[in-house]
Amino acid sequence: MQPTVFVPTDLYVMLSAVLFVMGVLGVLIRRNAILVFMSVELMLNAGNLALVAFARQWGLANGQVFVFFVMTVAAAEVAVGLALIVAIFRTKRSIDIDDLHEMKG
């Protein structure tokens, strides 16, 4: 079934660019490790949105397949990332990335 309103691909790509920039700013500005990590996820999802939009534009499935793999990888990354953040919280009682200064030189 064809959608009644066809949203042009460039709008999707622009939205994905906005999401990506928001993610980058979040990584640069936020100090809480979990929020930094959420911003990274936002960047990955910006990539996903661009991929599906382009896949529709080209009429090819490989972009959609790519998104499945990205989602799987992102899930693995979440598991590992949260475990590491828990580990740092156990030793430091803080997840502020400004407190990560055990090593200097």
Partner: protein, 492 residues
């Protein structure tokens, strides 16, 4: 497209090392569950020997079959089976095996199957990175390597520095991967292709050119730049290298870097032809800044791991010279990068092995605490000296020829200034490498009567690396000529 021609059962041979590594991971995890902790030290030896076996199997079974599989895009275009893949995969498997050997006495990890399984997975991912010919495979391979290395960097749970190293590596790494992914998605969008070898044509025939494509490629290069720790994406390197368990630092500094260079080479050759001048100049500048910053900051370091971290930033800068030279010289630049990475793999693992053994015995990672090493353990001091001379580029160690080939390729490609800057850098670098040698041989310490204990597998690792470095230093030109022939074949 030519990737439908080979039967898929035959093309499985092209990923034979990866299949065997997967089997190895399962075997390690089963043995880990079955064996009591007292026996699990064997797991490191088993993993290391198995990886050497896989390397041998690859050289015996896969190399002769190249006639059929050679230079083909296989498994739906996901990987390309060529000389670049084979050489880098061999380096990575060797690095993985040596990492297992030097991990057996690592407190908190050396007796855990999960640790060796993760090393095997990281090796697998790095091997796929050097073979990847499709954006999907590039991303998955990159992440397979990175995610397992995040875990390994933070593996020592009680150790505050290891946890911090893991979190830092994870946050910066995930950020860089996300940036690279967005670049990959734009490249797909502009070309309609996910296969690296079809993207250039897609971009050329597409309506979108100029700035958007430049931005997309820039994002991808940022991601790769992070992995090879090129300035300005190097800031994670010192902290992660210092905090991670030393064998993992060695692995990150060689295998992850070599795989990323393989990816970078493939990407530049296949995707970038239309964007030559901009990229070549950008890379040349990045190379200069990277090696200068690495060398200058390394001068002030008091911690051996931190010094080797800055040294590895500088080494990445040198290697980038070869990537620059590919633009004009093709095969020579490629061969120089291959040779440099091969010698760097052996050299750096040797250096980190000695650093690990000494810091475990003295309880300190300070360079000053290596004093008197030549009297405590002459063999260790000798192995470290060979590694440092190689890093510094002094004959007869392999590093001399590594630098010579790189600088030569740069001059032939018309980048005389780049070669000059690199020579000045190499001279600066000698200061801090020789300083360590001076501390080991001239300075005295109170513990000179107590030799440093060296486990059997550590001895194997040091023998392999030291002899390898000297061997590559003596028979450099045949090896280089072989790499040159391989390099020229790759330029189509």
């Amino acid at each position: 497209m030519d990737f439908q021609t080979v039967d898929w059962t035959v093309s499985l041979l092209a990923i034979l090392p990866e299949i065997l590594l997967t089997v190895l991971v399962v075997v390690i995890l089963i043995l880990d569950a079955l064996w009591p902790e007292s026996r699990r030290r064997q797991l490191g030896i088993i993993s290391g020997v198995a990886m050497l076996g896989i390397l041998a199997a690859m050289l015996i079974f896969v190399a002769p079959l190249q006639g059929e599989l050679r230079d083909q895009l296989l498994l739906g275009g996901m990987i390309r089976h060529d000389v670049l893949t084979q050489i880098f995969r061999a380096m990575i498997l060797l690095a993985g095996a040596l990492t297992c050997f030097i991990s057996v006495d690592l407190p908190g990890a050396g007796r855990q199957g999960g640790y060796y399984a993760l090393v095997a997975v990281a090796t697998l991912g790095a091997g796929l990175m050097s073979a990847a010919a499709d954006l999907i495979m590039v991303f998955i391979a990159l992440e397979t390597t990175s995610i397992s290395l995040y875990m390994l960097a933070g593996f020592l749970r009680g150790d505050e520095r290891s946890a911090e190293s893991g979190v830092k590596y994870f946050l910066f790494g995930a950020f860089a991967s996300a940036v690279a992914l967005y670049g990959l998605s734009l490249l797909y969008g502009f070309s309609g292709q996910t296969n690296i070898y079809l993207i250039a044509d897609g971009l050329a025939s597409g309506s979108i050119g100029g700035l958007p494509v430049l931005v997309a490629l820039m994002l991808v290069v940022v991601g790769f730049g992070f992995k090879i720790s090129a300035v300005p994406f190097h800031f994670w390197t010192p902290d992660v290298y210092e905090g991670a368990p030393t064998p993992i630092t060695a692995f990150i500094s060689v295998a992850s870097k070599a795989a990323s260079f393989a990816l970078l080479l493939r990407f530049f050759m296949a995707v970038f032809p239309g964007y030559d001048e901009v990229w070549v100049n950008l890379l040349a500048v990045s190379s200069v800044v990277t090696m200068t910053l690495g060398n200058v900051v390394a001068l002030w370091q008091k911690n051996i791991k931190r010094m080797l971290a800055y040294s590895s930033i500088a080494q990445a800068g040198y290697t980038l010279i070869g990537v620059v030279a590919i633009s004009a010289q093709g095969g020579a630049g490629m061969a120089a990068v291959i040779f440099y990475m091969a010698m760097y793999t052996l050299t750096n693992i040797g250096a980190f092995t000695v650093a690990f053994l000494v810091s475990r015995a003295t309880g300190s990672e300070a360079i000053a605490d290596m004093a008197g090493l030549s009297r405590r353990s002459p063999a260790l001091a000798l192995a470290m000296t060979v590694a440092l001379l190689s890093l510094g580029g002094i004959p007869p160690a392999a590093g001399f020829f590594g630098k010579f080939f790189l600088f030569n390729a740069a001059v032939d490609a018309g980048f005389v200034w780049l070669a000059l800057v690199a020579v000045i850098n190499a001279i600066i670098a000698l200061y801090y490498y020789l300083m360590v040698i001076k501390v080991m041989y001239v300075d005295r310490s109170a513990d000179e009567a107590q030799p440093i204990p060296v486990g059997r597998t550590y001895g194997w690792a040091l023998i392999i690396t030291t002899l390898g470095v000297i061997f590559l230093g003596i028979v450099a030109s045949p090896v280089y000529n072989w790499a040159l022939a391989a390099g020229q074949e790759l330029l189509f």
